[in-house]
């Protein structure tokens, strides 16, 4: 499975990652090997098989719509890289 440098750059952008120039061919090769390996699943006929997203038979677990205790504001902000009052400060979101 041939993964090109452009493929690597495209996927990295989707994943919000940036690789060094020297890393890109290494990742391209490794990703290619891994994707080639997983291609073996194509051999199996799964036409009548439904996908499993969850191993154990559990359905939606709801609780009653009552206010419970949760993290207080100080706790929630305790690891903020950049905090202003009760907010996380980030660069402009809407240009």
């Amino acid at each position: 499975m041939k993964i090109t440098i452009q493929d690597v750059e495209h996927v990295a952008r989707l994943a919000r990652l940036q690789l060094e120039e020297s890393e890109k061919p290494v990742f391209a090769r490794q990703m290619g090997e891994i994707l080639e390996y997983v291609d073996k699943l194509k051999i199996l006929n799964t036409d009548d098989i439904s996908p499993t997203s969850h191993a154990v038979p559990v359905e939606n677990a709801f609780r009653s719509d009552v206010v419970n205790c949760s993290l207080d504001v100080e706790q929630a902000l305790s690891n903020a890289p950049d905090r202003v009052e009760n907010f996380y400060r980030v660069p402009k979101v809407i240009e």
Partner: protein, 485 residues
């Protein structure tokens, strides 16, 4: 008998009778950790002050008559468990200064009993690895041979037990990360059925596969730890509301008349001869105990690693999207705008293996590939689950090797991700099927490295595998040998 060689029950008795105090026991462990760490490196954070405070509190509790089985017992947790107020890194630079504002339910349950926290254990970054070599905080060495890996991703959890730096530990298992290091380090490691133990407060890698479990020096200690952490948790909507049985009771069940399956796909030629020998001996041992062996087939075994490396990486790419430098974790010092902040923070914070898996997962979920990769893998997962369901109609449990070889040398597989991935071939199917399995000591290689065997049970069949494991332990001595450091 050294304090650090005591089992949970032995230590509990001595504490209850006030022969030793928890503070004394804790000090012994802290001193041992100081001595052993330069050779092994099990810990990322040793919480000495907290440990002694926990121990003092436990001693007060014991003095007033309230001694539960884990009260005052020194334990340690993989650094994937959130521990309120105590740095939790998940083996990653991106969380190297993260102080959780709340604790994992499994830790809270141990705290409620008054257990002592010695520290947070080293692991592969974000639980992605089979050798503990991807940690951003250095490697952990196998206490049986410090040129070898301890296994991963719960390498620190296994090494700490093997080196007697803690009485027992907690780890997590997504593709074998409790069982494989337990096997490589000669201790007992159990992966419960998915949903048996709460994942609340456990940093997520692959949410449909992750499970919390204990590692200990013997089966009884494992059963005690499982009993302490198992149970439904309203904070984890994937935890199952099934009563927790008395696992200690189950330890006496024996194996007479039990049907044990041997899946041919796990015994193909090419298995390390020492591993084969240990398993053959284990089969004889079980036959002498009255168990009956049945040849079975798990026909889709060969597709499990491929299935796992699509599902786990896809789920990981989604779970790790939260590390964006906004609310917690590393944020790059310089960036030109929001997108650049995300990209720089993540690229600086994540190691190569994590990036690799995020990229594979992103690819598998991306437009044009989603059906061919991710959905296909989920369908094959159904086939793998069906293999097990069918097998369990004719057997009570399944016996297999844990790893194809004993522990390999440090750096032996770091250049070849695919080689590394293939070493999980016997443990991965169990995570995909969501069922339970235990790894316990079953022999040693010619070079003196531990070899474990795996007992796989039906979903919520932990009692059966614990009972069978204990029966084996009673008539063998593999688990009594200790690593010399």
């Amino acid at each position: 008998m050294e304090i650090f060689d005591l089992t949970i029950e032995e230590m509990h008795e001595k504490l209850r009778k006030r022969e030793i105090s928890s503070v004394e026991a804790t000090q012994v462990f802290l001193k041992r950790i100081e001595k052993i760490e330069p050779k092994v490196g099990s810990f990322i954070t040793v919480t000495a002050d907290r440990a002694l405070a926990d121990a003092e509190s436990a001693d007060r509790r014991i003095a007033s008559g309230g001694c539960q089985i884990l009260t005052g017992i020194p334990l340690a947790l993989k650094d994937i468990f959130l521990t309120e107020g105590i740095r939790t890194t998940c083996g990653s630079r991106i969380l190297q200064n993260f102080i959780p504002p709340y604790s994992a339910t499994s830790y809270t349950k141990l705290q409620d009993q008054g257990a002592v926290l010695l520290g947070k254990l080293n692991q592969d970054e974000f639980a992605m690895g089979s050798s503990n070599e991807t940690s951003a905080f250095g490697i952990t060495r196998n206490p049986w041979n410090t040129d070898c890996i301890p296994g991963g991703s719960s390498g620190g959890s296994a090494a700490a037990v093997a080196a007697r730096e803690a009485v027992a530990t907690l780890g997590t298992d997504t593709g074998g990360s409790i069982r494989q290091p337990a096997s490589h380090c000669g201790c007992v490691g159990l992966k419960p059925t998915y949903g048996r133990v709460s994942r609340y407060g456990v940093i997520a890698y692959a949410s449909s596969l992750d499970q919390v479990g204990p590692l200990a020096g013997n089966v009884t200690d494992c059963a005690i730890m499982l009993g302490a952490i198992a149970g439904h948790d309203p904070k984890d909507s994937t935890s199952v509301n099934i009563a927790v049985p008395d696992y200690l009771q189950a330890l006496n069940s024996g194996v007479k008349g039990l049907k044990i399956g041997l899946p041919k796909e796990y015994f193909l030629s090419g298995l390390d001869p020492d591993v084969q020998k240990s398993i053959d001996l284990a089969i004889e041992t079980y036959k002498n105990l009255g168990a009956e062996f049945v040849d079975i087939s798990l026909p889709h075994t060969d597709y499990a690693v491929a299935t796992y490396y699509l599902i786990a990486t896809a789920e990981a790419s989604s779970n790790l999207a939260r590390y964006d430098g906004v609310r917690f974790g590393h944020r790059s010092e310089e960036y030109a705008g929001l997108l650049d902040m995300y990209i720089k923070s993540r690229s600086q914070g994540f190691g190569a293996e994590v990036k690799r898996r995020i990229m594979i997962g992103t690819y598998a979920l991306s437009s044009g590939y989603y059906d061919a990769y991710y959905v296909k893998a989920q369908k094959v997962r159904t086939l793998i689950m069906q293999d097990f369901t069918k097998a369990f109609q004719s057997v009570d449990l399944i016996l297999t090797p844990v790893a194809p070889t004993p522990a390999f040398r440090i750096n032996e597989k770091t250049d070849d991700p695919m080689q590394m991935y293939l070493s999980d071939i016997f443990t991965i199917p169990i995570n995909l099927a969501g069922t339970c399995a235990i790894s316990l000591p079953a022999g040693y290689s010619a070079g003196g490295l531990p070899i474990g065997m795996q007992l796989i049970g039906k979903p919520f069949g932990e009692e059966t595998i614990l009972g069978a494991a204990r029966a084996f332990e009673k008539v063998t001595e593999w688990h009594t040998k200790k690593a010399v450091l």
